[in-house]
């Protein structure tokens, strides 16, 4: 018997074994959980349900309000950054938002005057910290979550 025959035989064997497997019994808690969740969702006020279940008028109003917010946000962003992009043009800003412009100007000045070595160093430190965090998370996953599953 060659390797192909053995592979085919193994496929047939596994296929037969798995094909004969009956359905597993769902936990008794499943039905209770589903019913409880349906009741919980039914008790929610409309604004806490999924967007698709909102009343038609509320959905239209929400979309209109969202579009309005986006428009206002864009106008504010343009308003704040305009003097930075073009020194010749000045815009009178209310005193309450002047600090935003100052902050942005300061950040741009700092980033332009910062040595590239510092930037690369900062990125390297961030990468190392991310890798450490990733490693710790993975170790925790393997120890706390995956190991009990494998030993089950």
């Amino acid at each position: 018997m060659n390797a192909d025959d053995r592979e085919r035989e193994l496929e047939q064997l596994i296929g037969r074994l798995l094909g004969e497997q009956p359905l597993r019994q769902a936990p008794r808690s499943l039905e209770l959980r589903v019913m409880a969740e349906i009741e919980r969702r039914a008790r929610l006020p409309w604004w806490r349900r999924s967007f698709a279940q909102w009343p038609q008028a509320a959905r239209v109003a929400f979309l209109a309000a969202s579009a309005g917010f986006v428009y206002v946000g864009l106008r504010i962003a343009m308003w704040v950054t305009e003097p930075i992009d073009s020194a010749a043009r000045t815009v009178e800003l209310p005193a309450a938002v002047t600090w935003i412009q100052t902050l942005i100007t300061a950040l741009i000045t700092v980033s332009e005057s910062m040595p590239m070595l510092w930037i690369y160093g900062g990125l390297a430190v961030l990468t190392v910290l991310y890798a450490v965090l990733f490693g710790v998370g993975t170790a925790a996953y393997r120890t706390i979550y995956a190991a009990p599953l494998r030993s089950a």
Binding site: E11, L13, I14, L17, G19, A26, L30, T138, A146, L149
Partner: protein, 174 residues
């Protein structure tokens, strides 16, 4: 719901490889069915609809929550598999000396112990009757990888079953 809960739970459990997560997925499937009740209440294919939703949600779940962890948590086990001499174990005397109920339980346990990249295509092929091409498309991997993963899954499953006393090893070489 009672008529389909075992099917939905089994589908999710075999793909997700974890009963707790399978229960969460099964709950989500039935909540979706409840939301779409008017559309599916008189459908003759409601079972197929539920199975498809269960399969999709299980695969989405794996893609969303496990992609990052899988890289590290199963890399080691994959390497272990590749380091071993490839043998084709044949648990041919499966029924010998083992109670049928116990045998089925051992098979389910062995399935859950398979690494996710091997288990998922195997389950889709043998339980969901998907072709190699469909599995490759659904998982976004090459056809060759699907074939290799399913082959490795069969070998690993057979080894696990053999280790549990459900058969005897047969070496690949003649």
């Amino acid at each position: 719901m009672r008529a389909y809960q075992d099917m939905v739970f089994t589908t999710a459990a075999r793909i997700a490889g974890n009963d707790k997560q399978a229960e969460d997925i099964a709950q989500e499937v039935f909540l979706k069915a409840y939301e779409n009740y008017e559309q599916i209440r008189n459908s003759p294919t409601v079972g197929g609809w539920l199975k498809t939703v269960a399969t999709n949600l299980s695969l989405n779940y794996l893609a969303r929550y496990r992609r990052r962890w899988r890289l590290f948590s199963e890399m080691h086990r994959q390497d272990e598999d590749e380091d071993q001499e490839m043998e084709l174990p044949m648990p041919e005397n499966v029924a010998a000396g083992v109670d049928l109920g116990m045998q089925r339980q051992l098979i389910e346990q062995a399935l859950q112990r398979l690494p996710e990249p091997h288990r998922v295509p195997l389950v889709l092929y043998h339980f969901e009757d998907m072709s190699y091409e469909e599995i490759a498309k659904r998982l976004g991997v090459s056809l060759a990888k699907v074939k290799t993963d399913i082959f490795r899954a069969r070998v690993a499953l057979a080894k696990l079953l053999t280790r549990k006393g459900l058969g005897a090893d047969i070496a690949l070489s003649p």
